[in-house]
C-alpha cells in the first residue's frame, strides 16, 4: 500500500499545485516542496522493511482481467535506491525552479510532480503493461515542461524528445505483447506479470527481435549511440529543473529497464547481443566525449558528457556479472547527482547572464568564487576522481567489464582520460583566465545564494558518501543483483541442456 501512496501523493500534490495558483502564485512551489519531502520521508519507511524475499513492499490488485493485467507494484533494494534518488532530485529540482520559474508556476509544478509520479511508477511497476503505462505517463508532463518553460528552440526540442521516446516506446509495447502472447501459447493464460513472463522461453530469431524492441526503447532513453540525438536538444532547451529531472532521473529509467527487464527476460538473446551492446557503449563513451569537447553551448556539452557517462552503465549491464552491475548502479546514482549539479550550475549561469555560449564567458573566478568552487568539485567528481561516487561506479563497471570483454574495456577506459580533458576545459574556459565581458549584461552575475549552497552541499555530501563508504548503497542493491544473476544463469543452463 505504501507504494500506491508514494505515487498518489505526487499525483494529488500536483493537482493541488495547479489549483493553488489562483490563490497565491507563491503557494505552488511551497506545496510542491512539501509534497516531495513527504514522499521522501515515506520512502524511508521502505528502508527498515524486511520482506520474505528481496521484495520489501508489494501491492497487487486486479485491473484489466481480460488481458491478465494487474495493478502490481513492488520494490526491492534496487528500486528503493532509485526511488530515493528520484525524491532527492525532485527536491533539488524544485529548488532550481524556485526563483527561475515565475510564469504560470502552478502548472509548472503540476507537470514536475506528475513527471516524478510517472518515474516512481516506472521504478516500482512489475506488471509490464503497468510499466509501459507509467513509462508513457512521464513523457507528457516532461514535454510540457520543455515546450512551455524552455528556451529559444523549445518546440523543436520538445517535439524531438517526445517522438523519439514515444516511437521507440511503441516498439517496446509490441515486444511486451509478443511476450504476453507467448506466455499464453506456452503456459495457457495471458499474463503481463513480470514473474510469469520470466518463465517464457523465447529463443532463436524471435527472441532476438523481441529483445531488440526492449533494447531500442531503453537505450533511447538512456541514451546510447545511435539513439542519443534527442538528448542534447532537450537538455539545452529545457529549463534548469527540467534538465535536473531529465539527466538525474529520466535517463536512469532506461538503465533500470535494461537491468530489470531487457536482460533477465531474454538471457540468451542478451548474451548473444552483449558484444554489440558493449561496442555501442564503448563508441558512446568515446564519441560523445569527443563531441562534448567541440561544443560551445555549455548545456549541450554537459548533455554529451551525460551520454558518455551512461555508456559505462550500458557496458556494466551487458558485462552481466556482479561487479559490473554494481558499478552500473553506482554510476547511475553518482551520475544522477553530479549531472544534476552541473546542469544546475549551467542553469544558474544562464539565469544570471542570459547566455550559454562559452566563448563569451571567461575569468568568472574572482566574480563568483563560491560558484567556482562548487563547479570544480562537481567537474572533478564527473571526471572520476577517487574518493567521490563516480569513481567507484566507473571503476567497478570497468573491472566487471574487463572479465567479460578485454578489448572493449580497454578502449572504453580511454573515456576517463577524455572526461578529464573536457571537464578541465570547461573550468578553464568559464572560470579561469582574464575576466572580460563579451557582450552580455553582467549586472546580475552574483555569487551563489544560501539556498543554492544548501542544495549543492547536499549533493556534495551524497557524492562524498558514495565515494568513501559505498557499502551503504552496494549492500542494498547486492541481493537484488545476485538474484537476477543467478536466475539468468539458471535459465541459460536449462536452455543449454535443452539444446544438448
Amino acid at each position: 500500500m505504501i507504494l500506491v501512496t508514494l505515487i498518489a501523493v505526487l499525483f494529488v500534490g500536483g493537482l493541488a499545485c495547479w489549483l493553488s495558483e489562483r490563490f497565491n502564485p507563491d503557494l505552488p512551489r511551497l506545496i510542491a516542496l512539501l509534497t516531495v519531502l513527504l514522499d521522501f520521508a515515506l520512502m524511508f519507511s521502505l528502508l527498515g522493511a524486511e520482506g520474505t524475499s528481496t521484495w520489501v513492499a508489494v501491492f497487487e490488485a486486479p485491473w484489466i482481467s481480460r488481458f491478465g493485467i494487474s495493478f502490481y507494484l513492488a520494490a526491492d533494494g534496487l528500486s528503493v535506491l532509485l526511488l530515493m534518488l528520484t525524491a532527492f532530485l525532485g527536491v533539488v529540482a524544485i529548488g532550481a525552479a524556485w526563483d527561475e520559474v515565475q510564469e504560470r508556476p502552478g502548472f509548472f509544478y503540476f507537470n514536475l510532480l506528475w513527471t516524478l509520479a510517472g518515474v516512481v511508477g516506472v521504478f516500482t511497476a512489475l506488471d509490464l503493461f503497468l510499466f509501459f503505462f507509467f513509462w508513457e505517463v512521464m513523457l507528457i508532463p516532461m514535454y510540457l515542461i520543455i515546450a512551455i518553460w524552455g528556451h529559444e528552440n523549445k518546440n523543436y526540442a520538445a517535439m524531438k524528445f517526445f517522438i523519439f521516446t514515444q516511437v521507440t516506446g511503441m516498439m517496446m509495447l509490441v515486444s511486451i505483447l509478443v511476450l504476453a502472447y507467448f506466455h499464453y501459447l506456452q503456459l495457457g493464460s495471458l499474463s503481463f506479470n513480470y514473474h510469469d513472463l520470466l518463465n517464457v522461453s523465447l529463443t532463436g530469431e524471435m527472441g532476438m527481435w523481441v529483445m531488440l524492441g526492449f533494447f531500442i526503447s531503453f537505450s533511447t532513453k538512456l541514451p546510447s549511440m545511435p539513439f542519443h540525438s534527442w538528448l542534447p536538444d532537450a537538455h539545452s532547451q529545457a529549463p534548469t529543473a527540467g534538465s535536473v529531472i531529465l539527466a538525474g532521473v529520466l535517463l536512469k529509467t532506461g538503465a533500470y529497464g535494461l537491468i530489470r527487464f531487457a536482460v533477465p527476460l531474454f538471457p540468451e538473446a542478451s548474451m548473444a547481443f552483449a558484444p554489440v551492446a558493449m561496442t555501442l557503449a564503448a563508441v558512446s563513451i568515446l564519441y560523445c566525449a569527443k563531441v562534448a569537447f567541440a561544443q560551445d553551448d555549455i548545456k549541450r556539452l554537459i548533455a554529451y558528457t551525460s551520454v558518455s557517462h551512461m555508456g559505462f552503465v550500458t557496458l556494466g549491464i551487458y558485462a552481466w556479472n556482479e561487479q559490473a552491475l554494481q558499478g552500473a548502479v553506482m554510476t547511475m546514482l553518482a551520475h544522477g547527482l553530479s549531472a544534476a549539479a552541473l546542469f544546475m550550475l549551467a542553469g544558474g549561469l544562464q539565469h544570471r547572464i542570459h547566455t550559454r555560449n562559452m566563448p563569451d564567458m571567461g575569468g568568472f573566478w574572482p566574480k563568483v568564487p563560491k560558484m567556482t568552487a562548487v563547479a570544480i568539485f562537481f567537474s572533478v567528481a564527473a571526471l572520476g576522481m577517487p574518493g567521490l561516487g563516480n569513481f567507484i561506479g566507473e571503476f567497478l563497471a570497468l573491472i566487471g567489464a574487463f572479465q567479460a570483454n578485454v578489448t572493449l574495456t580497454v578502449v572504453a577506459a580511454f573515456g576517463l582520460i577524455l572526461a578529464s580533458v573536457y571537464s578541465l576545459w570547461v573550468l578553464q574556459k568559464v572560470f579561469q583566465g582574464e575576466y572580460n565581458n563579451r557582450g552580455f549584461d553582467d549586472s546580475h552575475l552574483t555569487d551563489l545564494s544560501r539556498r543554492e549552497m544548501l542544495y549543492f552541499a547536499a549533493m556534495m555530501i551524497g557524492l562524498v558518501w558514495m565515494g568513501l563508504y559505498p557499502q551503504t548503497f552496494l549492500s542494498m542493491s547486492e541481493p537484488v543483483l545476485a538474484q537476477l544473476l543467478s536466475e539468468s544463469a539458471q535459465t541459460l543452463v536449462t536452455s543449454l541442456e535443452g539444446g544438448l
Binding site: 486486479p62 485491473w63 484489466i64 482481467s65 481480460r66 488481458f67 504560470r104 503493461f129 509501459f132 503505462f133 508513457e136 505517463v137 513523457l139 507528457i140 514535454y143 510540457l144 515546450a147 512551455i148 518546440n155 520538445a158 517535439m159 517526445f162 517522438i163 514515444q166 516511437v167 511503441m170 516498439m171 509495447l173 509490441v174 505483447l177 509478443v178 502472447y181
Partner: protein, 487 residues
C-alpha cells in the same frame, strides 16, 4: 412473412427515432420554435438510447430477414444514439445565430440516426443499402444546411455537391457488387456467400462483386485511395455536420463492414486480405503524411480520421488469423474510443465556432490554454488520445489493435501502425504546442464570448469517459467481450 407486435418491440430504438423525427416535423408545422425542436430531438435520441440499453440483455433475434437485433447491434445503436444526442446539443449554440430556418437541421439529424441504427442492425444487403442511403441523404442536407445563409463562413454547397456526386458513385459500385453476388447466389443475405461452392467462386464474379463492395465501403470510410473527398467535405461543411460525418458516419459503416466480412466469411476468398492490407497501409501512410501539411484543423482531423480507419482495418485483417474474437473486440473497442475522442475534438472546435464564424485554422487556437484553460485541456486530452497516449481511452484502443496484430503476427502492418502513430504525434503536438503559446492579439481573447452550458456538459462528459475508460477500461472491455460473440 408477417411482423408481430413482439418484433416491433425489438426494433423499438428505430421506432422511437422515427417517431422523434415525425414529432419534430409536426412541431415545426405547428409553429417554428428552435428550442422546442431541439429539445424533442435530444429527448428522442436519449429515449432511443435507453430503449436500446434496456433491450440488450438476452435479446438475439432476427426481425424480418432484414434486421438482426442482438446485443452487438443494440450496443452500437445505443452508442450511436448517445453520440447523436451529444452532437445535437453541440449544434444548438452553433446554429442559434443562423439567418435562415434552423429547425429542420434537427429533423435531418434524427433521420440520419435512423439510417445509422438500421445500418448497425443489418445482415442483409437490402437493409445495409437502405440504412446507408438514409444516412447519406440526410448528411447531404446537413452538410449543405447553411447554404442559404448570407453570412455562412464556409462553402457548404461545394462540400455537399462533392459529397453527393462521389457518394452516389460509390453507392453505384456497391449496388453493382451486390448484383453480381446476387447473380451467383440468388439471395441478398450476407450469409449467402458461404453457400457458394468452390467452382462458382472460380468464375470470378463473386470476387469482382466483393471487390466492388469493398471499394464502395472504402469510399464511405474514406480509406485511401478513396479518400479524396474527405478533407474538402469536412472543411466545407458546418462544424456539427462534420462531427456527425466523422463519428457516426464512420462507425456505423464500419460495423456493417465487420458484420459483412464475419458472416459472409469473405476474408477467406483469395485476394481480399491482400486488398484490405493494402488499403490499411495506404490509408495509414497517406492519412498521416498528408495531415502533416495541413494548416486547417478540420482538414487535419479529416486526414487523421483516414489514418484511424486504416488502423481499424488492421484488426479486420487480424480477425481472420486469430482464434477467438480478439479482432472483433479490438475493432469494437477502438470504434467506441474513436467516437469518444473525435466527438470531443470536434466538439471543442464546434464550441469555439459559430455558423458565421468558424475557428478552424491552427492559428485560431493560439494561446487557447491561457484564455480557455478548460476547453484547451479537453482538446489536449482528445488529441493525446487520438495519438494513443496512456491515461486516455485511445491508448487502450491502440493497445487492443496492437494485441490483435501481434496475435495474428501481422508484422508489416504493425510496422505501419508504429510509423503512422509516430508521424501522427507530430501534427497532434503541433496543435497542442500552438495552444500553449501566448496569445498574439487581444481580439482573439473575445473568441466565443458566450459558451453554452450544454456544450460544456457534453465535452466534460466526454473527457470523463476518455479518462475513465483510459484508466479503468475493464467494465467496457468485459461488455465488449460478451457482445462480440454475437457477430
Amino acid at each position: 412473412m408477417t411482423i408481430t407486435i413482439a418484433d416491433l418491440f425489438l426494433i423499438l430504438p428505430v421506432l422511437v427515432l422515427t417517431g422523434t423525427a415525425v414529432l419534430a416535423m409536426s412541431a415545426v408545422a405547428v409553429g417554428r420554435n428552435y428550442p422546442v425542436t431541439a429539445f424533442i430531438t435530444v429527448a428522442g435520441l436519449l429515449l432511443a438510447a435507453l430503449s436500446a440499453v434496456t433491450l440488450m440483455p438476452g435479446t438475439n433475434q432476427q426481425v424480418t430477414p432484414l434486421l438482426i437485433v442482438d446485443p452487438y447491434s443494440l450496443f452500437f445503436a445505443a452508442v450511436i444514439c448517445l453520440s447523436a444526442m451529444f452532437i445535437a446539443v453541440l449544434s444548438y449554440p452553433y446554429l442559434e445565430g443562423l439567418d435562415d430556418d434552423r429547425e429542420e437541421y434537427f429533423l435531418l439529424l434524427g433521420v440520419a440516426t435512423v439510417g445509422a441504427v438500421v445500418l448497425v442492425s443489418s445482415n442483409h444487403f437490402v437493409s445495409a443499402l437502405l440504412g446507408l442511403e438514409t444516412l447519406s441523404m440526410s448528411l447531404y442536407g446537413m452538410v449543405a444546411y447553411t447554404v442559404h445563409s448570407q453570412k455562412a463562413d464556409k462553402y457548404p454547397l461545394e462540400a455537399s455537391v462533392k459529397y453527393l456526386v462521389l457518394s452516389a458513385a460509390a453507392s453505384g459500385f456497391l449496388l453493382f457488387g451486390m448484383a453480381l453476388i446476387y447473380g451467383q447466389t440468388g439471395t441478398l443475405a450476407f450469409a449467402s456467400l458461404t453457400d457458394l461452392s468452390e467452382s462458382s467462386l472460380g468464375n470470378g464474379f463473386s470476387v469482382v462483386g466483393l471487390l466492388l463492395i469493398t471499394a464502395g465501403l472504402a469510399f464511405k470510410l474514406s480509406l485511401a485511395p478513396f479518400h479524396m473527398w474527405t478533407p474538402d467535405v469536412y472543411e466545407g461543411a458546418p462544424m456539427p455536420a462534420t462531427t456527425y460525418l466523422a463519428t457516426i458516419g464512420k462507425a456505423a459503416v464500419f460495423v456493417v463492414l465487420l458484420r459483412f466480412v464475419e458472416i459472409s466469411e469473405a476474408l477467406a476468398l483469395a485476394g481480399i486480405l491482400t486488398v484490405l492490407s493494402f488499403l490499411a497501409v495506404l490509408s495509414i501512410l497517406a492519412g498521416n503524411l498528408l495531415a502533416l501539411l495541413q494548416q486547417n484543423v478540420k482538414r487535419l482531423l479529416a486526414y487523421s480520421s483516414i489514418a484511424h480507419m486504416g488502423y481499424l482495418l488492421i484488426a479486420v485483417v487480424a480477425s481472420y488469423y486469430v482464434e477467438g474474437r480478439v479482432g472483433i473486440e479490438a475493432i469494437s473497442f477502438y470504434l467506441v474510443a474513436y467516437i469518444i475522442m473525435s466527438l470531443g475534438a470536434f466538439g471543442v472546435t464546434s464550441m469555439v465556432s459559430r455558423s458565421d464564424c468558424e475557428r478552424d485554422t491552427i492559428d485560431d487556437y493560439r494561446g487557447l490554454f491561457w484564455r480557455q484553460p478548460l476547453l484547451a485541456a479537453v482538446f489536449t486530452a482528445m488529441l493525446l488520445s487520438l495519438a494513443g497516449i496512456p491515461l486516455t481511452v485511445g491508448f487502450i484502443g491502440k493497445f487492443y489493435l496492437f494485441f490483435a496484430g501481434v496475435e495474428a503476427a501481422l508484422w508489416p502492418l504493425l510496422a505501419a501502425l508504429i510509423v503512422g502513430s509516430g508521424i501522427g504525434l507530430y501534427y497532434y503536438l503541433r496543435i497542442i504546442y500552438r495552444m500553449l503559446e501566448p496569445a498574439v492579439s487581444p481580439d482573439q481573447s473575445t473568441m466565443s464570448p458566450e459558451l453554452s452550458f450544454g456544450s460544456y456538459g457534453v465535452v466534460l462528459c466526454l473527457s470523463l469517459l476518455l479518462l475513465g475508460l483510459g484508466i479503468y477500461p475493464a467494465p467496457v472491455i468485459d461488455l465488449i467481450e460478451a457482445i462480440s460473440t454475437y457477430v
